[in-house]
Amino acid sequence: MAAAQFPGNISSQIPLSQRPEWADVKPVAQDDGPNPVVSISYSDKFLETMNYFRAIYLADERSPRALQLTAEAIELNAGNYTVWQFRRTILESINGNLHEELDFVDHIAEANPKNYQIWHHRRWVAEKLGTDVTIRELEFTGKIFSEDPKNYHAWSHRQWVLQALGGWENELSYCQELLEDDIFNNSAWNQRFFVITKSPLLGGLSSMRESEVTYTIQAIAANPENESPWRYLRGLYKDDPEALVKDPRVASVCLEVLTAKSNYVHALNMVLDLLSHGFMPSSEISSAVGALTTNSLEPDSDLIKSICSVLELVDPMRGNYWKWRRDTAVAQACRR
């Protein structure tokens, strides 16, 4: 097992200066110049490793021991793109085993899952190995998501894998699975949108809209305080707000949430958006909004004004925004 090469720490505890295989190399110290700013108090190990790295880099030594040294340098500073770049040069020159290289990245990513350079390197390797590693790459990101389901880099990598190498077959059910674990996981909602709009197997947004609206409405009804499905629902009608207004299921879920009188901020916001796109409210919606106005609020014959007044009261953090929404909606109505 190649992975067994990387138990715990990659780097040996023995300083490089005491390892016989490095005896022929003269380390090159960093020249920080006369008046350095933000100097870093490097550890001895860091200084030594980088000094040896400088030596082999300047000598352009592309050898197995140089590859091992880059691993040690990466373990100390995984963001150093020069070291990563040289590692790729070495791998190409010595025809390194790229499957083992993925094992190495697995190991480094465990400690640094939020490092850009690791993911760029991983893509470089996966690109060379092609569709042989499609499943491995999807599983690798899946492993990252089991620790952090919102890891931004891992999601970018996964989207790249799908687009470059394929593997779309189970992606919608994977999103489903993550959303069942946590319906508030917005990264999973985003991936769902990516799949339904980009998957070559699903026919695009127009074929998926019906079933997606149904799914989203259910998610809203279960957790009306969850902003993610509300935004997803608008997204499904992104290029066609008139159709959003005409879909009776949208108004219906708003009515359901408003009538329940709990966690209704997003529902009110949706009705406000619908109204600004020409929605003709039913009397049920108007009275459900009216029922939310308290004694301190005069029910207004103008539904937009009523909604904004309620929002000002229940979402005071954005009070000025709701006032502004009311004023712009009124101005818009005057122009019609």
Partner: protein
């Protein structure tokens, strides 16, 4: 438990005001020497210096540092082409991020050039902040070679030898052009198209097309469009005029990032984090919607991430770090804290430092 002071605050608790003096001390300490955990960020020395120096400027304390020494140090990171032919060899001649990506010429050997877009942005921002005349730089070689980094889709790679491309580097490229007063370094039209492809279904922007909306990416998108002149200031008061991007959805997305605890989150359903008070708050400033946020709530949140040792942490109760400290200072600048210089949001430096630029 400590004793209560005259204001009723427990003396063990964090100060309930913006403790500018301690923040200046914190940055002065960092300017001198960073502790060893920062060695993992060694490659970004210029970025660390940017946070410390521009941070001191935001705190109106630039007099604490030797500006000439800073200029000399920053200039020493520049990658200079040997001759005019080299400018066209496909490499980028900007600034190196640190000594560990910068190597001296070796007899007969390769002369690797590892200059980087983010380091170049930070170098120019520092130089401008400490009063260096940027027209003294050979801007032609920086800009001509920078164009090699732009990809067919309009995005930018940060380094010629290859790396991820995303909105961060579009922002760096646009800032570099603006700071050098010359837009020949990029195809603005293609960059704009790329940015617009990053606007997500929910109104915010992802770092690349298809990615989840994110506060930092949204800042890069909106600031770049503003720097390139594709949008005006105060878009919310001009909703009638057509705009290249969907402003109502963007505005709504940004405002909903302020959470119940008063802080800003970077993405939906994530915890509040100090830095988004600048990333998202800054976008709202550009849009002319800063008066829509709950400033009192934001201030209260930020005071929970302020460290008693100076600086800010990401989340309440953690140790401070340089990155979150800098954006904490910028956030207080946006809140118009007395004694703090106004930040020029689009460019990520103080307003006074931008004197003379064509904004």
């Amino acid at each position: 438990m400590g004793e209560e002071d005259e204001y009723g605050w427990d003396s063990d608790s964090e100060p309930q005001y913006f403790d500018k003096d301690r923040h200046v001390q914190f940055l002065e300490m960092i300017f001198e020497l960073l502790p060893s955990p920062y060695q993992t960020q060694e490659i970004n020395r210029l970025t660390l210096a940017y946070f410390a120096i521009v941070g001191l400027d935001i705190l109106a304390s630039l007099d604490r540092i030797n500006k000439d020494a800073v200029i000399e140090w920053v200039l020493s990171f520049q990658a200079l082409p040997k001759n005019e032919d080299e400018v066209n060899n496909g490499q980028f001649y900007g600034f190196h991020g640190s000594r560990s990506s910068q190597f001296q010429h070796v007899e007969g050997g390769l002369v690797p050039n590892g200059s980087h877009l983010a380091s170049t942005y930070c170098a120019l921002a520092i130089l401008k902040t400490v009063g260096y005349d940027l027209s003294l730089l050979d801007s032609t070689s920086i800009l001509k070679s920078m164009k090699n980094l732009q990809q067919p889709d309009g995005s930018f790679m940060p380094i010629h030898s290859g790396a991820e491309t995303d909105l961060r580097f579009v922002f760096c490229a646009a800032s570099i052009c603006l700071l050098l007063g010359n837009w020949c370094g990029m195809d603005k039209e293609r960059a704009k198209e790329y940015i617009l492809r990053c606007q997500s279904y929910d109104g915010g922007f992802g770092l690349i097309p298809g990615s989840e909306s994110h506060g930092g990416a949204t800042y890069c998108a909106v600031a770049s469009l503003r720097l390139m002149g594709y949008i005006e200031d105060d878009l919310v008061s001009k909703t009638v005029s057509p705009c290249v991007l969907n402003v109502p959805m963007l505005l709504d997305w940004c405002l909903k990032r302020q959470s119940d605890d008063g802080g800003f989150q970077g993405r939906l359903n994530k915890p509040s984090d100090t830095c988004y008070a600048f990333w998202v708050g800054g976008v709202l400033r550009i849009l002319g919607a800063h008066n829509f946020i709950d400033e009192g709530g934001l201030r209260r949140f930020l005071l929970t991430t302020q460290s008693r040792y100076g600086g800010f942490s990401k989340f309440p109760g953690q140790l401070p770090d340089l990155y979150h400290s800098y954006y904490g200072f910028c956030a207080f600048s946006l809140l118009e804290e007395p004694g703090v210089n106004p930040v020029f949001v689009n460019l990520g430096m103080s307003e006074i430092a931008t004197v003379g630029l064509h904004l």
